[in-house]
């Protein structure tokens, strides 16, 4: 389509294709004005709209209909109209709502980061660091779930889950048969296989990659190392099932784990198969491309390469 829509986010204008969401328009601009997203996953159709961290204020609907939208909108699911004006960082209302959402997400999160394998690459950590408060006002027992076993490759920690539904979409869209889903309602809803069946198919490992928190982690990497001590390296191999383009995570000369390649928003666009993920953990299986690009806020980058070390600011 030749026609492009103009959108202004926090005073920065850009032109995007019709049908683009506000979040993706913001990502095209880049920088700090990109709203955080916990549940939206660009390569998964239908994802988004659930976590409410990406709420923005639409201060002008469009050129034709300049009325502001009455409520804060989920930027990942709201499409851009021509002449739309959006406030993200510049709206105190949005910041306040986002703080609320982060607090809601954290009240039942176990905060067991010291023993969680996701620590260091956890979206919830980044989010609460950037938008959360120092202390919680929640004074009750946190919700806990019965532990269930979903197979020998993936570890499920339901207590850490924020119910983003990403893993459900992965199973729906990547695999022939989805055997897990959301069971239960309200704050007792959980990811489950219902009759404790093992999740076993060639692409199940991608559930680990899409999980923003430590609810789904790799059993073969479990407790092996902290992610910031490992070195991500891009590599590829000829695979008859998937694209074969992966990130290898090295500790010394050993490949500790294999994941898909994540972009700066922590999203994988080329999903990989379980053979690549679990069975090819030797350097000789792979053709090395070079060090992986690491996203801006990641602590992984703190130990490697030349990048700026993020100063730790005591917010109190």
């Amino acid at each position: 389509m030749s026609e492009k829509y103009k959108i202004t986010i926090d005073g920065v204008s850009t032109e995007v294709e019709p049908g683009t969401t506000i979040l993706n328009a913001a990502r095209q601009i880049g920088g700090d004005l990109v709203p955080p997203a916990m549940c939206y996953y660009s390569s998964l159709e239908g994802s988004g709209g659930k976590c409410r961290t990406c709420l923005v204020k639409v201060s002008k609907g469009s050129e034709k209909d300049p009325r502001p939208m009455p409520k804060l909108m989920a930027s990942c699911r709201t499409t851009v109209m021509d002449g739309m004006e959006v406030q993200n960082l510049t709206s105190p209302e949005v910041q306040e709502a986002r703080k609320g959402v982060v607090e809601f997400l954290l009240i039942n999160h176990p905060l067991d980061c010291p023993v969680c394998d996701q620590a260091g690459e956890c979206k919830l950590q980044d989010l609460s660091y950037e938008h959360g408060t120092e202390a919680t006002r929640y004074e009750f027992n946190r919700r806990t779930f019965e532990r269930i076993d979903i197979g020998d490759k993936i570890q499920l920690h339901m207590n850490r889950c924020i119910l983003c539904y990403r893993c459900v979409y992965v199973a729906n869209q990547l695999t022939d048969q989805r055997v897990h889903g959301i069971v239960g309602r309200g704050d007792m809803a959980e990811i489950s296989t219902y009759v404790e069946k093992a999740i076993d198919n060639d692409f199940s490992g991608n559930m680990i990659d899409v999980c923003p928190v430590g609810a789904l982690t790799d059993k073969t990497f479990r407790f092996k190392n902290r992610v910031w001590f490992t070195k991500p390296v891009w590599a590829h191999r000829d695979c008859d099932k998937c694209c074969g383009r992966v990130t290898l995570w090295y500790k010394g000369d050993d490949v500790l784990r294999v994941t898909g390649r994540k972009d700066e928003y922590g999203e994988v666009h080329e999903f990989i198969c379980n053979t690549c993920r679990y069975d090819k953990k030797r350097t000789k299986d792979w053709v090395i491309e070079g060090p992986a690009k690491v996203e801006r806020q990641s602590v992984i980058s703190a130990n490697h390469y030349d990048s700026k070390v993020v100063p730790v600011i005591d917010k109190r």
Partner: protein
């Protein structure tokens, strides 16, 4: 069926199908000013006119009979006592919308209602009001009854559609609205039972005639399910614009507060609307007497007003405990939250726990402000209105009855022994018992 026919039933079907075009029916409904009876009060004619009409795509009408708002029980009785009025409304409305398949989504708990509806549908089919080529007009309509799973959230129109399609009843993210993409991705209109039943009357007598009933933009009549501490709880059909005072105290309606007690508070439209103390429900801030209409009840915004909602009129007398009542509502929303979006999933549970603590005498003063803050952070930030519905009763209860909450915190022991009573919210009317 016979009785209904004798009293002029199905005349609207004959009139609509034989003498009118769908657009004419739509025009009549628009003229009538009929507003959705499910709670939001959205003008029905306008809603119908939003329906997308692409070529070659079927359209659907879905009747929302998943009535599960605490305090509302009007649709159930309407369906039990007069199922044919709903079916007639369904035929007329489907005709106006050009829908050839329509569903009635009934709450799963109401088994007997489903049986009654199915019997009534088969009767209508025998008489030729349903099926192929109705009354020789060339219009086909199939009507199905779909029992739901009994979840409150499935009363939200997009969750209802998901549930109807056999999926988990999670609300969809809007837009797209059902009018563009509803059941099976086709344009769909979802209306309340009462709304649909009203359309047949409108077609029969004309929209102008309907608009004469009621007051201002609140036209027609409304079924109010009155319950709580009143002498005559039950379902009353009122003309919109009836003064609230008359509704509560007149013998024709609620018949006054039970036991000659005094009025403390009223929840005017089902559990999810803001609760109002006696002085504000009878008179607005401006001192005018409040009427049973969409506008009058909403006067003063959420600061001093409420909503007509779905017409679940819950009356609380001086012995009712607002804290307990609020806790009870919140417990309901906590249980019924679908768990899809974070503010509602986590927030309702949090509010419930804090209210439980206050009610049982373990609260702190800071809890009250915490509740206000949590409610404010849920409100407006969720996918569907359930979050708002959960936040409003809490916010309004604290706004109007703050000293009762404070008393619960200050006097934990006393609050377990007795209720707070009327305090500063004395109802402005003379005590009836004193008169006698």
């Amino acid at each position: 069926m016979e009785v209904y026919r004798k009293q002029g039933g199905y005349a609207a079907v004959e009139k609509a199908l034989k003498t009118m075009t769908p657009d004419e029916v739509l025009e009549e409904v628009k003229k009538s000013g009929l507003r959705g009876r499910g709670g939001a009060g959205f003008p029905t004619g306008l809603k119908w006119s939003f329906l997308a009409k692409p070529e070659g795509v079927p359209r659907y009408l879905v009747c929302n009979a998943d009535e599960s708002e605490p305090g509302t029980f009007k649709d159930r009785d309407l369906m039990v006592r007069n199922p044919h009025s709903l079916i007639e409304g369904m035929i007329v409305s489907s005709f106006a919308l050009g829908a050839n398949t329509s569903y009635i989504y009934v709450r799963g708990e109401l088994f007997y209602v489903i049986r009654i509806l199915e019997k009534a549908i088969s009767e209508a089919r025998e008489k030729g009001f349903l099926g192929k080529n109705i009354l020789g007009s060339g219009y086909d309509l199939e009507l199905y009854v779909q029992p739901g799973g009994g979840a409150y959230i499935c009363g939200e129109e997009t969750a209802l559609i998901e549930s109807l399609e056999g999926k988990r009843g999670n609300p969809r993210i809007k837009p797209p609205f059902p009018a563009v993409s509803g059941v099976w991705g086709c344009p769909t209109v979802v209306n309340n039972v009462e709304t649909i039943a009203a359309t047949s009357w409108i077609v029969q007598h004309g929209g102008d005639e309907y608009a004469k009933i009621g007051i201002g933009r609140s036209t027609g009549t409304k079924l109010i399910s009155a319950c709580g501490n009143i002498n005559k709880p039950g379902i009353y059909e009122i003309e919109l614009g009836l003064p609230v005072e008359e509704f509560i105290y007149s013998d024709e309606y609620c018949g006054g507060i039970a036991g000659g007690k005094r009025l403390k508070a009223v929840v005017a439209g089902g559990s999810s609307v803001p609760v109002l103390p006696a002085n504000l429900i009878l008179k607005t801030m401006a001192g005018e007497s409040r009427l049973m209409s969409y506008e009058s009840l909403a006067e003063g915004g959420f600061v001093s007003g409420t909503m007509l909602g779905s017409g679940g009129f819950i009356v609380m007398d001086e012995d009712a405990c607002i804290v307990r009542n609020t806790w009870n509502f919140t417990r309901f929303y906590h249980h019924e939250s679908c768990g899809q979006c974070s503010p509602c999933r986590e927030g309702t549970g949090w509010m419930e726990k804090v209210l439980h603590r206050i009610e049982y005498g373990h609260g702190k003063m800071s809890d009250i402000d915490l509740l206000v803050d949590v409610a404010a952070k849920i409100e407006g930030n969720t996918i569907c209105p359930l979050g708002d519905a959960a936040a409003w009763p809490v916010g309004s209860a604290i706004r109007h009855f703050r000293d009762e909450f404070e008393w619960h915190v200050r006097e934990p022991r006393l609050s377990q022994e007795r209720n707070y009573g009327l305090a500063g919210y004395a109802d402005p009317l003379p005590v009836q018992a004193a008169e006698a």
